[in-house]
């Protein structure tokens, strides 16, 4: 069926709650109001207020609740309304949830999911538009998921809920309205398995989250310029499917990484560093990264437009390493 990204998430929550009575939801406005973005709509009516818990504005206690509940047998799926707010509960994420299993010598399992949404494009300003996945990516002990479409959103969320580890599930606010085909029947998508969104031979584009769609939008222009791009969506950044990326780069010899987050210190840095470290001799050109400039996300429309990486930035990055170098136009 053709449904939107937000609905796909709602369906995943509903189905998992139906299947497993230990799954519960907590967060601000998630109950009677159905969530600030409507993601938990209808769930309190079906599952009651013991399983869909409206909390005070207390992100630290919300994540802490998830840590305590998950380590004692439940499967909390909590909502942090904007990804920017992970900063107010960061200790519970990185020092508690992420480390509890390790610190306890493997005694604890923490099957908890932190749903949140990030990304710019809605003029929500510097504290409501960030893409902070790199901060989580650097922390051992959590998994980090970034679905780029409704199908992935549903399948990955189900996997997240069934996973026995803390998972941060990062939705993108600009994608909530995106429509896509989603099967009626139950399915899951394994973590750590990238999706080759489009095959190609000249250059590999690894794009995360919302940027997958921007990369796809660039394809036609690239093809018109005789460049066949392979687009890879890692879907989960922890665990990261390095094999699929490497395989692709071995074929294309060129790599571009695209994310909406600030370029400096972003996930793209790791992918670039890792690829050149592991398959240096396959590289025909320097790996390029496309990301946001080293500034907060500005509010004003023209500024935010300038800030957000777009298909032109991707095309330019491709041109930079495909044109004028060893790249052979003749092969097309």
């Amino acid at each position: 069926m053709l449904i939107r990204y937000n609905k796909a998430i709602n369906n995943a929550l509903r189905e998992e709650m139906q299947k497993d009575s230990t799954v519960f939801i907590a967060g601000e406005d998630v109950g009677n109001a159905g969530g600030s973005f409507g993601i938990t709509r209808g769930l309190i009516a079906e599952f009651g207020s013991a399983r869909v818990i409206d909390t005070p504005i207390s992100e630290s206690a919300i994540v802490g609740m998830a840590v305590g509940a998950s380590s004692t047998g439940l499967r909390p799926v909590i909502e942090i309304m904007f990804m920017d707010f992970i900063a107010v509960c960061f200790d519970q994420i990185i020092n508690q949830a992420a480390k509890m299993r390790y610190m306890s010598g493997g005694q604890m399992a923490l099957p908890l999911v932190i749903r949140t949404q990030g990304g710019a494009g809605l003029n929500a300003g510097p504290q409501h538009s960030q893409s902070l996945e790199a901060l989580l990516f650097h922390i051992p002990g959590i998994k980090v998921v970034m679905p780029s479409n409704p199908y992935d959103a549903k399948g990955l969320l189900k996997t997240a809920i069934r996973d026995n580890n803390p998972v941060v599930f990062i939705e993108n606010k600009a994608l909530y309205g995106m429509k896509g085909e989603v099967p009626e029947e139950d399915y899951t998508i394994p973590f750590g398995k990238a999706k080759i969104v489009k095959e190609g031979i000249d250059v590999t584009i690894v794009a995360v989250g919302q940027m997958v769609n921007k990369a796809l939008a660039a394809v036609e222009t690239l093809e018109n310029n005789g460049i066949s791009a392979e687009i890879i969506d890692p879907r989960t950044i922890t665990p990261l499917d390095t094999d699929t990326i490497k395989q692709s780069v071995k074929k294309t010899g060129r790599l571009i990484i695209v994310h909406e987050a600030v370029k400096i210190g972003g996930v793209g840095a790791e992918i670039a560093a890792m690829i050149q470290e592991d398959i240096f001799d396959y590289l025909d050109a320097p790996i390029q990264r496309v990301g946001a400039p080293f500034t907060p996300v500005p509010y004003s429309k023209p500024l935010e437009n300038y800030y957000l990486p777009n298909e032109n930035d991707i095309i330019n990055a491709v041109k930079k390493i495909c044109v004028g170098r060893q790249f052979s136009f003749a092969s097309h």
Binding site: D29, G31, D54, I57, V88, P298
Partner: protein
């Protein structure tokens, strides 16, 4: 309307000079007018992003800030327009900021949730619930260091008392005996969630005891009560006492943000509150009890309208910032 027994602050201020009465009225009308104006500009698509309006709460900011000078400091919230106007912000620069224009307070980088005017002690609206309170603690250190009787007022909602920031800030201010008055505006909702759902106490003043500080409960819809209660408290703070906690009971008429249809509100609730319109009430008291001429009020209203017309014109005509300005103002 929920009945809450209001305890009057200190007495003995029966006389309020006419200029102050007029000034209070002007501030309230300006706030209301500004909010109605930007609401319609938002509908017209001229203002993007999130817009949290202050309509219904005007008596609070007005009554409090009438007692302040530009040497005093305030911190504000996502719902900050009223506080900023009452503290003396220029509505032209405010509105231009909401438009995302170069001439706005923040050159379009901040938007509604980040209006700042350092010159007159507005240390920022803030997109993170509660985050202004510890910042106010820092301004309190400055005020104490300067030793010139400056007062610091962090504004926040009753929802914000759930977050650790509230606790840490009030506690720290009390330990360090800082010249701060914590002002909670209880407008009955935190986003879409009514106070009964997220608060375990009937009033926020009950929380003052946890910090050993005096607390005051005020009818936040009665600008005279707000003004008169605050005056002696502010004077005490100027003379070295503090901190204090003040709860102003009020209500917001508009949605949490523009576009919120307020489905979560019981039928008729808003209408009840509208009957208790702080501006209408004050207006009728002004003419009936304080014997202010109707014509004086009308001229205030007209002057405000003119000022807002100009602000709108200014905002519409101002240029957008150059996209390259995205890269500026990150570091000093």
């Amino acid at each position: 309307m929920k009945k809450i027994k209001l305890k009057k602050g200190e007495e003995g201020l029966s006389h309020i000079p006419n200029e102050e009465l007029m000034s209070l009225y002007q501030t309230m009308v300006k706030i209301r007018g500004f909010e109605e104006r930007v609401s319609s500009l938002f509908s017209d698509g001229l203002i993007p992003g999130f817009l949290h309006l202050y309509i219904g709460q005007e008596a609070v900011a007005s009554g409090i800030c009438e007692n302040l000078s530009k040497e005093d400091y305030i911190t504000s919230t996502h719902r900050g327009h009223g506080h900023c106007i009452a503290k003396g912000a220029d509505v032209k620069k405010m509105m231009a900021e909401l438009f995302g224009k170069e001439t706005g307070y923040c050159k379009g980088k901040g938007g509604s949730m980040h209006v700042v005017d350092v010159e007159i002690g507005i240390l920022g609206a803030n997109g993170i619930v509660g985050a202004g309170m510890p910042i106010a603690v820092g301004a309190g250190i400055t005020a104490k260091t300067n030793n010139k009787g400056q007062v610091v007022i962090p504004f926040f909602g009753e929802g914000a008392t759930g977050i650790g920031y509230f606790h840490e800030a009030v506690n720290m201010a009390s330990v360090l005996k800082l010249p701060i008055i914590f002002v909670c505006e209880s407008n009955q909702y935190a986003e879409f969630t009514p106070r009964e759902t997220h608060l375990p106490v009937k009033t926020i003043v009950e929380r003052g005891g946890a910090y050993g500080i005096e607390s005051f409960l005020v009818n936040g819809n009665d600008v005279v009560e707000v003004y008169q209660t605050m005056k002696p408290i502010i004077n005490r703070v100027r003379n070295g006492e503090g901190p204090f906690l003040v709860e102003c009971v009020t209500n917001r008429w508009s949605g949490h943000f523009e576009g919120d249809p307020q489905r979560y509100r019981p039928e008729g609730e808003i209408d009840e509150w509208k009957k208790n319109d702080p501006i209408k009430n004050f207006r009728s008291i002004l003419t009936s009890e304080y014997h202010i001429q109707e014509s004086s009020l009308v001229s205030i209203e007209e002057a405000v309208k003119l000022e807002l017309d100009e602000a709108e014109k200014f905002s519409r005509e101002s240029p957008f910032p150059n996209e390259l300005s995205t890269l500026e103002d990150v570091y000093a």
